[in-house]
Symmetry: C2
Subunit: 693 residues, 2 copies
């Protein structure tokens, strides 16, 4: 799925959709107060289907142990042992090295009766029940994978007071709302080493995601070893590819966490890296080089050439045995057909076969690929573009276009997975993704059709992520998507989601994710000095530009350094969220004085570090592109304080002040170095309120 394309085709519908859902949601949210909710949801994310808190606590002491009863799958043993080690790391307590063999005395007893599939499959039973009393915790699940999900919930229950750690007493009954809860990682545009994938699999398991959709071939890189066709990776990857041992390692690691691995080999477009070593299957004349730019490119496989299918037959056969999952994703997106239009041989072929459009030619291509997959026992999955009415009914449509396209496919009998609305590379706040429901309450699908909506996937397109920054682009926001896909439809409170997202964020750090720890390091590098507190203050209110404006405003390519201020900045700027919330509450008359004081306290704190910030920005050549942001930030502070002064004094600022402020805010609102200051909207509201009627 390519950015440019999304930018041109997707954004409008998506924005409107989000708007509609947002309005609906606001109504729901107001029915329940945040404090009530916090009592209900505590640190749990995703929120389980049913939770009943009880009186009492199960203390966590160094005598803590886990016993398995029923069956003792090795995967479950390992998961339980890892859970113990994770608890140890977090609490610095030290438990037994082995699992308990005495269910009567173990603090947690896990009862399962089936191992389930040793390599997870779509439809695996992931349900579990968890009961914690002040004596013992009991986790019951039909299968190993359900126990894994329940263990993650159990770990999220841990709380502490001054004296000790404990698990609150509770009775939980839980199962996922959707069967397909995925994260797509694009290893094509920027290669991601194994340790990046592994720590992200750990994080996925922690929030109960169950599909790693692994985007392995792209214009910019062919990332998987074929033993039959070793030239593909050798010539198409700069040496940055996964060996088959690496792939097996990842599949095993994922299976150990109850996660499926669905590979994607994008075709017939997005295929430049194939054509470096196999120009003979291209639709246009070669030679081809690995693409370095972002965008949509012309090189496309030739669907009229038997050599294409011969090569793909060999390749798919090998990949079918390498990847155990039943589903194989063939991409199929964003083929603009320029090489087809320009090739007389292909035009003649189309005429001969009665194929009127490029879409029909692509369908012809897909129909020829389909039996190759089927012969190897695989089910085809592809982006929206592959959809057409005479596909077999088990094909899965992966929708980047939106819920409407998805619903249409479901009506025609196809299964679907939603990614529209879950494009985490667009840099929208978690709340935007959180409100997108693959199956909204307003759906007109029949219950039978609804079953075909399998779930959704967050998509980490990797134009602008390096191993250093990728965790910060995926987490914590993807945890909000994971909740949308697991929890009941009614779990929708955004404030409570953010409260829990902060907790999850810290827990993910403990698992080894780097989204927070790398940020300060990046700031130290940019500043070229040790103390970067004032730069961190700026970073707490800035965000990278949304959508695909980054490339337009600050063009780079796949080999460019991703170490600028924009790369250190993250979506969902935390201080900006707090600021905006205080503005909204104050202007709505909610705790007016307290919110005014809170705003002043934030503003004063920012002001106090302003001169140091300007010194850092002024001294560092690598921050030169963003120097204006510090100036803008100072003006925002000034305008906000002037507004608050007027509001607190119950006087109105005059029109000249208003006009000057609005004009200045207009300048400030323009991104610098592809970065926005995220409090501009809040300050605008203050200015409007301070200017009187």
């Amino acid at each position: 799925m390519h950015p440019q394309c999304i930018r041109t085709r997707m954004t409008k519908t998506n924005s409107i959709l989000i708007l509609i859902i947002s309005v609906t949601l606001t109504l729901i949210v107001q029915a329940q107060t945040v404090n009530d909710l916090a009592q209900t949801t505590r640190g749990l994310m995703p929120v389980p289907a049913s939770v009943n808190w009880k009186a009492g606590r199960l203390p966590l002491t160094k005598a803590f142990n886990i016993a398995l009863t029923g069956q003792t799958d090795e995967r479950l043993r390992r998961y339980a042992l890892r859970a113990m080690r994770r608890l140890e790391r977090k609490t610095v307590l030290e438990f037994s090295h082995d699992l308990s063999t005495d269910p009567a005395s173990a603090a947690l007893v896990i009862e399962t009766h089936s191992t389930g599939n040793p390599i997870p499959k779509l439809g695996d039973d992931e349900s579990y029940m968890l009961d914690v009393t002040d004596q013992q915790a009991k986790l019951t699940a039909p299968t190993t994978v359900g126990a894994m999900r329940g263990l993650e919930t159990f770990l999220q229950l841990l709380e502490a007071d001054k004296g000790a750690f404990y698990f609150p007493a509770v009775s939980i009954s839980d199962q996922p709302r959707f069967l397909w809860r995925g994260l797509m990682i694009d290893s094509g545009r920027h290669f991601q080493p194994l340790d990046v994938l592994k720590r992200n699999l750990d994080a996925m398991a922690a929030v109960k995601l169950n599909v790693l959709h692994w985007h392995l071939t792209e214009d910019q890189g062919f990332r998987v070893e074929s033993k039959k066709l070793p030239e593909l990776a050798r010539e198409g990857s700069d040496g940055l590819f996964y060996s088959q041992d690496d792939v097996r390692d990842i599949i095993r690691y994922a299976a150990d966490r109850g996660i499926r691995v669905v590979p994607e080999f994008d075709m017939p477009g997005h295929a430049t890296s194939w054509l470096v070593s196999h120009p003979e299957i291209a639709s246009g004349p070669g030679p081809y080089k690995i693409e370095r730019r972002p965008g949509i490119f012309d090189p496309t496989m030739d669907p009229t050439n038997e050599k294409t299918y011969k090569l793909l037959k060999v390749f798919f056969k090998e990949m079918a045995s390498l990847f155990p999952d039943a589903y194989m994703h063939i991409g199929g997106d964003e083929n603009e057909g320029k090489q087809w239009d320009a090739n007389p041989k292909i035009q003649a072929f189309m005429k001969d076969k009665g194929l009127k459009t490029n879409h029909e030619l692509q369908t012809y291509f897909n129909k020829h690929i389909l039996p190759l997959l089927q012969k190897d026992g695989k089910i085809m999955m592809g982006w929206d573009e592959i959809f057409q009415p005479d596909l077999p009914k088990d094909v899965v449509i992966h929708s980047w276009r939106g819920p409407k396209a998805l619903a249409e496919a479901a009506k025609q009998g196809y299964q679907g997975v939603l990614s529209n609305g879950y494009y985490i590379d667009l840099m929208y706040p978690a709340s935007n993704h959180y409100v997108v429901d693959p199956l909204p309450a307003t759906t007109d699908l029949t219950p039978e059709q609804q079953k075909r909506i399998l779930g959704g996937e967050a998509t980490m397109w990797s134009e602008w992520v390096s191993p250093e920054t990728i965790d910060s682009r995926i987490w914590p926001r993807t945890a909000a998507i994971a909740e949308r896909l697991w929890s009941p439809r009614t779990v929708t409170d955004i404030d409570d989601m953010y409260r829990r997202l902060d907790i999850v964020d810290r827990e993910l750090e403990n698992l080894g994710l780097t989204q927070r720890r790398n940020q300060r390091m990046m700031l130290r590098r940019l500043a070229g000095r040790e103390d970067v507190a004032s730069l961190a203050t700026l970073v707490s209110v800035i965000e990278p530009v949304k959508e695909y404006h980054r490339y337009q405003q600050r063009p780079q390519d796949m080999l460019s350094p991703l170490t600028g201020l924009i790369d250190a900045a993250q979506a969902d700027a935390p201080a900006a969220r707090a600021f905006d919330r205080a503005v909204d509450d104050m202007l709505a008359g909610k705790d007016r004085d307290a919110n005014s004081a809170k705003l002043r306290s934030m503003l004063n704190s920012w002001r106090s570090s302003q001169s140091d910030l300007e010194a850092i920005m002024g001294n560092s050549p690598s921050l030169a592109e963003a120097r204006q942001l510090a100036v803008d930030f100072a003006d925002l502070q000034r305008i906000a304080i002037e507004s608050l002064d007027a509001l607190d004094a119950h006087t109105a600022r005059d029109a000249a002040w208003r006009d000057a402020s609005v004009r200045r805010l207009g300048e400030i609102a323009k991104p610098k170095a592809a970065i926005e200051i995220a409090i501009v909207g809040g300050v605008r509201k203050l200015v409007a309120a301070a200017s009187g009627p």
Copy 2:
């Protein structure tokens, strides 16, 4: 080499040695002022053999490029390209993707005439010349590996002013003082994944270390795959071992950075993990289990059993072809011979062969191993214990006992590598290691004998390091050892070393090392909250206890969580060093008022975060073990301020105050949770001074 042993045998001599050298050093240091030195050494570490700064600057712009002339070894090409990418990451500038083919216009021209050994060898020529003018930089080296060293120097030249980055004009001529400059990583006690090793190889190359001594077998783990004897790793490692592909990957990665990989297989002691699968070669009755505790253990190979040599023959033959380096380390340390004493068959054997002591039996063992290595073309290396007079003269003695043992071996014709004094796991400050010279000016060795002192190795014994903390135990201190082994003997200024160590520390972060970024994360985990500034303040003045007291005071084993405050604390507490320096200067009458003000400023800043610190410590169960430290810290602040008040008022405190203060300091000096507050010494001096004569 085992801790207990070192504790009992090594410490005294070592301390005395350090004392003597320190005194000598102080005299040298005073000859030159720090500011003068900073002009000379700038950001360079290790300091080159000869540096002549010139007027002018070579600006770094996006037109920067590197051209190779002479020969164009692929390793050098890759190194040069990586250097460009590193410059890009640091500066956020964007250069050409490829090397320049036009030496006339390239900013840096590298001229080499020989590739040298594709896999580095002992004795490789690492010299280089580097000339930077305002027009161009020219790096000349006989071989690829010299060019690598020179490129690291070039990268360290980079400076910035407000407007831009630049390289100052300079003429450098450089070569290492010692041929063997190593870092030993113990993968036995705690397994270290490949990414840990790779980032540490990057760091080693950055400070011109050239040997990774890889400690692969220990009582606590057998970490390398043998295809011939797969049971060794399978049963001896909990599944945590390096496949042969992994080993080749590391060797290739190291060779790409001009670093040799010398494997160590420790025997006949430290061998428990061998005996799990091969109890028949043990000197005592089995069965054996992987050892979990730290310490010296009895299980020892049986030197009287032909099966032992048969197994080792197979093993060494396989390892000899896996590891290309000419040297193979067989450990040989800390065999206490208890199983030998207790085994009548072995006792009878010794009597029969006329072997009077266990040392003689071990020598018998070594003599039987030696031909196995020689047959495979390997040279034997071992710890001090293997030394005895009739070994072949190419054997290398690795000295943990000290320079005296090393010199003794050299006198008898043996080559030696020093590690005594470079035990970075002992948690001493960098300055302690920095003053240890393998070949001090006072040496009585002849020039011929001096040549046998090959160099030294920092030793990262891994009882108490995890992948999360290992970088913080190795870096930045090992950079000071790297300088001792590379730079001229006369480079000895400790203040200037610390100034440059801070720079190197930040550069290593940019390379991917985690010593700093992980610390804050660990504090967040311990505190269970986001804002840990006050806890970080405490951490800036505390240090883990030195030597091997940690285990005595806070026993753990190999499976224990290494996530306590002691694990977040680091050697060389930075604020404590600044505090002590200000105390010393003030009491010496140097900038008296400024230093008094500096101390007060530090104390006031600490005081201002004290209540938050106590809240964090009080609320977190995982910090409960260390709560007294916060109380102690507050008392240190109070006593220091009371002392300063008296000193600034030129009055003397009375005896009662002095006695109470000294008593309290005595209590505070006792470690809590195996942690020391590193400013106690400084405060003691203040108390003494404030108490009058």
